[in-house]
């Protein structure tokens, strides 16, 4: 960080740009390397999850198992949360990007589903409405009851 500030704020005419660019490049490379390390860690946990569910024959998606493993590691204090700060922010912000390619498969399904599309949308709307109300009512009712002595 200080490298960027020094290089950026002190334009040295005798040696134009080079030191600033060098420091900037180095700090960017460092951030990139850390990000790749973090992502590799998350990837390894995900693979571990897939391995465990296959090994133990649990009908659970491997990536969910990986998430539970990381949660347990965080709670036990074995792994500090800041270790995955960069990568988790990046992944959650750009989650749609990694997911869009699967939805693109609709271009092949097209006709079969689209003919009944409106009906499916009604189904999704009705069931979402039921779920929203049930979740909200129960949570609101139980927390209000808890608040009263």
């Amino acid at each position: 960080m200080p490298g960027i500030v020094a290089g950026g704020l002190a334009p040295d005419v005798s040696r134009p740009l080079t030191p600033g660019l060098w420091a900037e490049g180095r700090s960017a490379a460092r951030a990139g390397a850390l990000l790749i390390l973090e992502l590799s860690g998350l990837w390894a946990l995900s693979r571990l999850g897939y391995f465990l569910v296959a090994f133990l024959r649990v009908p659970l998606p491997g990536n969910v198992a990986g998430m539970l493993i990381l949660f347990a590691l965080l709670c036990s204090g074995a792994v500090p949360a800041r270790l995955f700060e960069r990568s988790s922010a990046l992944l959650s912000r750009h989650l749609p990007f990694f997911f869009v390619p699967i939805a693109v498969g609709l271009m092949d399904l097209g006709a079969t589903v689209l003919s009944e599309g409106w009906l499916l949308i009604v189904l999704l709307g009705a069931s979402a409405a039921a779920g929203l109300c049930v979740t909200g009512w129960i949570a609101q009712w139980l927390s209000a009851r808890k608040a009263q002595p």
Binding site: N63, I102, L106, L119, L120, S127, L132, V134, W137, S143
Partner: protein, 227 residues
């Protein structure tokens, strides 16, 4: 596999996504949400350039590589907001379980009653689960990944469009209950909507999204066996 087509597929998807980020900031709406807008744009551009989905498969493999790590990273918001969860453990967990079960039962019963195929029923059952988990869970419940992806996206959009209005009409005003409902039913997009309402709503929604994903992953395969 044709490498040029693969590069083209990746470029189109990345371009559509970059465009959707700009468009959704300029004109915020469920129809400009990155996941809907980039899917539509990618499909249109690929169709126009006469690329078939089979030729896009390689690009899809490469682009979805980070879905596993992205799911694992969901543990972080869960961990950061754990005190909020513990303080509201009974209302939050009861509401979440009841809501996740009722939306799943409702959609499965309705879809069966209307005579949809087994594949459609099994794909639609898990539509409230966050996308990266849904596309893995669909393999266990034997549905179709693309159908599930579409159902998940539409459910997210419905939550954003219908959710706040419906919760008002149902007199659900507690920020905790609203966040929980939006996160449980409309996953990522619902969580983003809840975060707009209040910080508490957003935090509880991000917890709900993670726990609902775990709960439905366990419950859906069992339930679908008996339904």
């Amino acid at each position: 596999m044709n490498p040029a087509l693969t590069i083209w597929g990746i470029a189109v998807t990345a371009g559509a996504y970059a465009l959707s980020r700009k468009v959704s900031r300029r004109w915020p709406s469920p129809f400009t949400s990155p996941v809907f807008f980039s899917t539509l744009t990618t499909v249109l551009v690929l169709s126009a350039s006469r690329v078939r989905f089979a030729e896009y498969a390689q690009a899809k493999e490469i682009l979805t590589f980070l879905l596993g790590p992205a799911t694992v990273a969901l543990a972080l918001p869960l961990y950061r907001n754990r005190r909020l969860l513990i303080a509201n453990l009974v209302p939050a967990l009861t509401g979440l379980v009841a809501g996740a079960l009722s939306t799943m039962l409702a959609v499965v019963v309705l879809a069966k009653a209307l005579g949809f195929s087994r594949t459609v029923v099994h794909s639609i059952a898990i539509k409230s689960v966050t996308a990266p988990v849904a596309v893995e869970l669909v393999k266990i419940v034997d549905g179709d990944a693309t159908l599930t992806a579409a159902f998940v996206i539409v459910t997210g959009m419905i939550g954003v469009m219908l959710g706040p209005w419906l919760l008002d009409r149902a007199r659900i005003h507690s920020p905790l209950a609203r966040g929980l409902a939006l996160g449980t039913i409309s996953h990522g997009q619902g969580t983003a909507q809840a975060a707009l309402e209040s910080e508490l709503s957003g935090a509880i929604a991000s917890i709900a999204l993670g726990i609902a994903a775990v709960f439905v992953s366990i419950a859906a395969p069992i339930l679908l066996r008996y339904l």
